[in-house]
Subunit: 135 residues, 2 copies
């Protein structure tokens, strides 16, 4: 694990939260990206080498909608950058962590991602992510 790639925060209203986080961080978001497969709209703020990712559900079946219903808005996941996601998935599975996807899947921001079940990681939803080289 090289660094915290981003912290994911579940929000109800992306436009309002973009304004709020721009005030908090002292700079605006630098992009908005929809991840249709996950039913989320995301925005990104840079802070040092890491990002803050805001996530708003675009459909009731989105994991973000369910999270907010259960726990309210707030920190949703922590993502770590890895250089070889398949090797890390294998290593962590062998260490007893439960993977939420068996194969890396495409996430926001041009990454391969894999999530670890919070039950196997102290209640923390952990994301591994590896940048996909541009073609």
């Amino acid at each position: 694990m090289f660094k915290i790639e981003h912290i994911g925060i579940a929000v109800k209203d992306l436009a309002a939260s973009n304004e709020l986080f721009a005030k908090l961080l002292g700079r605006p978001h630098y992009k908005i990206e929809e991840v249709a497969s996950e039913h989320v709209n995301t925005s990104f703020f840079q802070t040092g080498e890491s990002k803050v990712e805001l996530l708003q559900a675009t459909a009731p079946e989105s994991a973000i909608a369910k999270f907010i219903e259960r726990k309210g808005e707030g920190m949703h996941h922590i993502a770590f950058e890895v250089s070889d996601i398949r090797a890390e998935m294998k290593r962590l599975a062998a260490e007893g962590f439960r993977l939420l996807n068996e194969e890396p899947k495409r996430g926001a921001d041009n990454k391969w991602v894999c999530f670890l079940h919070p039950k196997s990681a102290n209640g923390v939803l952990v994301e591994l992510c590896q940048s996909i080289p541009e073609e």
Copy 2:
């Protein structure tokens, strides 16, 4: 806000969680520190320019004990490094954020810290922290 200084994670059993996070992050914690005024025992892991801070309550009145009772183990706060905490506190209060302490207080890891109320920050407990120069 320069960078994510650390992510605080509430845990029930620091020794067990130190082992778990060592497996997750691929390296052990580099220090343990008690913050008696906050009734917590903390441990730190370096990951890139940021840290993961595990927090275990040492008394039932600790905010960490109450958090775990209400929400279970998991991500508790996000801390941003600032260069002038009083100036940031003033700026953020003027922007409508609610400060949980009026004066900077001494936190773990030799920092001045101030927390923002989650209700004013999208459900996220935000910590500002500024390193205290060594004497």
